[in-house]
């Protein structure tokens, strides 16, 4: 899974996308702007999981827990008056990272299928904490009365500000993960994915590296959760439900494993797909049963495109056949 010839031009496309979004932001209508913000948040979420699945080779099926915890902490810490962004954001990411430390420390003692099951089970535990207790308003969830703000400068109540903050967060996440992948740490993670035994034999503290990746991924998922709570103004336990973990895993593989772009492409494609399947104008009466079409689409996609959409592009262009 080499990056191929993309190393020289690889950064150009994402930067161009960010610039286009940055310029076009204020011109978008409400629907388009809302939709793009949603996709960008999901992209951050998918990118955070890509660090685990694509880079390190750890298939986690409980990533929604960190996303949900980030969102819940944002709302719980806001209070009725609204909170300070500079405090809420670190709190949300920190709480998610802390739970990731706990889950990672235990689940990384296992591997393979065990790891999949354990991460799923711990995510479900977090789900039940919010679902069964009154901490987060039970199954109804809780509302965020006033969105986070930083003085007069950054008020997420304002659409345009929210758009740019989410865009900045996406650029930050993408840039950070790109740096991580180029660093020694990232190289070690890639080595662990390819051959864990050899890395251990070479003297790398494999467990520590994996745990660090797990916590970083958790914190970034918490960032996505913070943004989601700020956008929606409401959180409920469904955010942590395992359907969400399954969906984000699907985004990562749908786009293509082992590429940061893959996670973003996957998030865009999946959200579009879901939107199309549930639109009456396109699907007619089938729109009521979008889960059925989505389920079949998932099966077909995974069967036909084991390397994701990026793999499709590579297959179609003769140059990138490497």
């Amino acid at each position: 899974m080499s990056q191929g010839n993309s190393s020289k031009l690889g950064w150009l496309l994402p930067v161009a996308c960010a610039v286009v979004l940055g310029v076009a932001g204020p011109m978008l209508g409400n629907y388009a702007s809302d939709f793009i913000v949603k996709v960008m948040i999901l992209s951050i979420f998918a990118l955070s999981l890509e660090l685990l699945v694509g880079t390190t080779g750890l298939v986690s099926l409980g990533h929604a827990a960190f996303y949900g915890i980030g969102a819940y902490v944002t709302v719980l810490a806001s209070g009725n008056e609204g909170g300070n962004l500079a405090l809420l954001l670190p709190a949300a990411m920190g709480a998610a990272a802390l739970y990731a430390l706990f889950v990672g420390a235990l689940s990384l003692r296992t591997r393979g299928v065990y790891f999949i099951m354990v991460t799923l089970a711990f995510a479900q535990m977090a789900f039940f904490v919010f679902h069964d207790t009154k901490v987060g308003g039970g199954s109804d969830g809780i509302y965020l009365y006033v969105r986070p703000a930083l003085g007069k400068l950054l008020d997420l109540e304002n659409r345009t500000v929210l758009f740019y903050v989410v865009l900045a967060a996406l650029v930050f996440t993408y840039g950070l993960l790109a740096l991580v992948r180029r660093s020694r740490f990232g190289a070690a993670l890639a080595g662990i994915r390819v051959n864990e035994q050899r890395m251990r034999a070479a003297g790398f503290p494999v467990y520590g590296y994996k745990l660090a990746a797990f916590v970083l991924a958790g914190a970034l998922a918490g960032l996505a959760g913070f943004l989601l709570a700020s956008r929606d103004g409401v959180v409920n336990p469904e955010l942590l439900a395992w359907h969400n973990s399954g969906e984000v895993l699907l985004m990562v593989i749908l786009g293509g494993l082992g590429h940061l772009r893959g996670a973003v492409i996957g998030a865009v494609a999946f959200t579009l797909l879901k939107e199309i399947f549930s639109t009456h104008a396109v699907m007619g009466p089938l729109a009521d049963h979008w889960q059925l079409t989505l389920g079949i689409a998932i099966i077909v996609f995974v069967a036909l495109l084991p390397k994701g959409l990026i793999g499709l592009v590579q297959r179609l262009s003769p140059k990138g056949a490497a």
Binding site: V118, M125, F128, I299, P306
Partner: protein, 290 residues
Amino acid sequence: MDFGTFLVQCLNSVQYGLLLFLVASGLTLIFGIMGVINLAHGSFYMIGAYMAFSLAPLFGDQFLLMLAAGVVLAAIFGYLLEWAFFSYLYQRDHLQQVLMTYGLILVFEELRSILVGNDVHGVKVPAWLDGSFALGSVMSYPWYRLFASAACIVLAVGLYWVVNRTRLGMMIRAGASNRDMVRGLGIDVKRLYRIVFAAGVALAALAGMIAAPMSSVYPNMGASVLIICFVLVVIGGIGSITGALVASLLVGFVDTFGKVFFADLAGIGIYLLMAIVLIWKPEGLMGRRP
């Protein structure tokens, strides 16, 4: 808590644990032998419960006949599903198995919603199992729950016998440890897999049918039982039927008594148990070290 209540809760724990074992043993068979991680296993349990809801009015008081009919239907369904879908999953890696069976769950859930709707249903206990068994003034216990426990014990013993004492069981055990060797011996592995898969589906569906009169039949029941099964497999150790049994009984106790003592946080008890086991023995109680 007086002695009678304690006894009742103990019986409930065992009954719940045995029921979980029925579902988990199917998962263990399918995973241990075919190496397929099947997220849709919970759906088979749900399908069983809805089958009980739909079949009960047809069979009236012939409850055992209904169970038999349901098992046959579920086994045929499993056989066809293996032929049409799962047989293509063996060569795929775990990640793809997870995603494709996840897609399958969405399909099953939506088909259920189209066919039977999203309401919560109850299933009547058959008349001959209605009422309670009284032990003096100490306690009384519903006959149906005793029947459920007995049925699960019979099935567990039967499963143990098949796996450890029959030729089919020998092939299953051999297939679990070395697939190529079994193929080399001239055993039709494809058919063996199909039979084991059908049996796994039938076991899960049977558990769902038995559970239906005790708990309500509701849309999300597949997912919740699946996750408990995963916890069981982690606690018991992958591929070990005995491990699955021990873990099921443990989880049955923790869950039942958790609900008695900590109503609010009952859901978390089994995960704490799992965390403790992971700290102590990451490969599970009866699992082999990888």
